[in-house]
Symmetry: C2
Subunit: 410 residues, 2 copies
């Protein structure tokens, strides 16, 4: 009844195949320009150099009086130096007069220092009496002045390629007056559901049909990796429809993910389509759930056939596809899913001979395995994450510490 | 020269004031309906109950033959039971005939079980010979049938209020055929920059002016909390402009954040505006950087005046405002910024008498304090996060373990 599975491959073999494929197909990063106010969380595509000096001029870093420092050297608490007031310079305005010996200019934080001045006396140590300024403290040369280009000089490296544009980095770029920035392009992923029984949310639920789950859950998972899902529709399990949907997906996206129609059974159409369009590299993984997974290279793009059952489809996505998408988007490993070390609440019997990813729910600091098959939607409703049970482990004892990979909530 | 600071308040006092204000102003959550494909990462606003049975009908969970289980009780490897084939039912189609003793129906995974059948023999244990089906294994009553409503029954609780809509939960909702869902509304935050020296990115950099940093960095920080920034413009430091901008902000948003114009100096306009419009609760926090921060209740909305210096503005945002915004959006504490325990690379001298938030850069597993003042943009370019130094600590020794709060990259 239809084509047999290829040789079932181990998880590590599949990871190696995907890694090599990734290197071959996706290691050259696409770049796109985005407006700065949409650049948050993106990854800088190029070393970015300062296009201006910061500060762009000698700037007062306190409110006070710009002076010739030397004029203040005799000033004390008891015996002020008295200076003539030339003018007042607020931030955003420009000094008109040069300060010479015996003179000062009232100045606000952020305002440009007038010519001739080389020090600033904080307002707290002054007094204005009859229009003259009494200075009660000596200041040294350069005090409370941020000199032009001392924060960063024009042409200096501002942010290196690969920087994640967190709010502070966005601030740094806006200090240059940039309104857009070159970032690594988000990968686009076509998401296709297959199955004659599947209907969309706006359709009436007729006998024998079910609402499709995977197109929504996989699209959401694609987004959670910082990629862009491109919905390729719910297609019937027949050769021509599936081929057309994959062709469209290849045109509109960097990668195509289908779900359903991967079993070596009645609905074996996908395997045949992929054999004709390109090269099937994996058909069958020693993993539970998710065994009937397909991986193919079609027109130098990755096509992944996920199983139809929602739990299996999401598991395979998270284990194999999510790391690739994050890497394509330029992210580092630090953005991988969080894990927790927790005691297992009850003894767990694993599937013999296959690596098992078992859904768990966390209750009062303990991990409870969810003992439902991969067709059960409520398993997903309850799950907080999953544990990995190696293929040679058949029993995980109650109370032993397990590593729970938490579902991505980004 | 202008109004004095109010009594300087301790960090814990300000947290208490904000907490109480939050309870009073924002504890009632706003709810909005969003399309399911935009609901990822959002927080479910209501307990959601199953609107249909799942599965919606008795469903085959394997490819094989639907039978009367009793007909197979005599079947063995050597001596098959032979049944007549009634019809073939693919997933998505409907059985037309009732199975009676001596008959079976070929059935695909996901297809509805025909009337009369109460068990399923997997295709692996059958053979089709001359149109008849040879059964080599007995099945028990109900085997490989997912009965209607056993995954979840119509009216049962599907997902509780407060669930974060990760991809798996999106899948659960789509199994119900939902196309939209009620989630907690994203808080809207008006972001206003003040300062006569500030210009926008598309403006020409004239002498005495600088590009505004805070409108971009604070808007990006607002987004990183799952809230929606509403840009309220760069306004001049004068009473009428500022008042108008805040009035607009209050109309368009749930909260208003300004930056600049908070010092008890020349540019003290904001304090006067807020005194006239509402009640100033905090003016001055015992924290470095960020001392000249204003907190006010205006028309039952929170107005926060951040300092003008970018490092100070972001620090105060992250310490005091980010937790409030996350709570308004319905998030749990688990979404707070990640922290790392790291050795401090060099001895650090803290500011006496004020809680200090010191920017650090992580190099080879050690935290290096960035010794630049809060006016320096490059401090932000280099920083990976910050450490907190309590007000009574003056020196943090080289090699001691510090907790680094990493900047949010969401």
């Amino acid at each position: 009844m239809g084509t047999e599975f290829l040789k079932i491959r181990e998880v590590a073999e599949v990871e190696k195949i995907l890694h090599d494929l990734f290197q071959m197909l996706y290691s050259a990063k696409k770049v796109e320009n985005v407006p700065l106010d949409e650049a948050g969380t993106r990854v800088l595509a190029e070393d970015t150099f300062a296009s201006i000096d910061l500060p762009p001029f000698n700037r007062a870093s306190r409110d006070g009086y710009a002076v010739k420092a030397q004029d203040t050297f005799a000033a004390t608490d008891e015996k002020p130096v008295i200076l003539d007031l030339l003018e007042t310079v607020e931030a955003g305005t420009v000094p008109k007069k040069k300060v010479i010996t015996g003179q000062c200019t009232e100045i606000s934080t952020g305002a440009p220092l007038p010519d001739g001045a080389d020090g600033l006396v904080m307002v707290e140590f002054t007094e204005k009496i009859d229009g003259k300024i009494h200075i009660y403290k000596r200041v040294h040369h350069g005090e409370f002045i941020a000199h032009k280009g001392t924060d960063i000089g024009k042409g200096d490296l501002l942010l290196p390629k690969g920087s994640v544009l967190s709010p502070d980095k966005i601030g740094v770029l806006s200090a240059m007056g940039l309104s857009e920035v070159a970032v690594i392009a988000k990968p686009h992923v076509a998401v296709i559901s297959t199955g004659n029984e599947l209907i969309e949310s706006h359709d009436e639920l007729k006998y024998g049909k079910i609402y499709d789950v995977n197109s929504q859950s996989i699209q959401s998972a694609v987004k959670s990796c910082g990629a862009v899902p491109v919905f390729g529709g719910i297609v019937k399990d027949n050769y021509d429809n599936l081929k057309t949907a994959i062709e469209n997906g290849l045109q509109n996206a960097d990668m195509v993910i289908t779900s359903g129609g991967t079993s070596a059974g009645v609905g074996d159409v996908l395997r045949n389509v992929l054999d004709d369009m390109g090269e099937v590299l994996v058909h069958g993984i020693s993993i539970k759930p998710g065994k009937p997974t397909l991986v193919a290279n079609v027109q130098d793009k990755l096509v992944v056939g996920l199983p139809g059952y929602p739990v299996a489809a999401l598991t395979i996505f998270q284990v194999f596809i999510e790391p690739l998408l994050r890497k394509m988007g330029g992210s580092e490993a630090s953005l991988e899913n969080a894990t927790m070390q927790l005691p297992l609440a009850e003894r767990f019997y694993s599937s013999k001979g296959r690596m098992q990813y078992a859904l768990v729910k966390i209750i009062e600091g303990q991990a409870h395995a969810i003992l439902k098959d991969s067709g059960a939607i409520t398993a997903l409703a309850e799950a907080d994450g999953y544990i990995k049970v190696p293929k040679n482990v058949e029993i995980v004892q109650e109370g032993s510490t397990v590593e729970v990979t938490l579902f991505n909530r980004n």
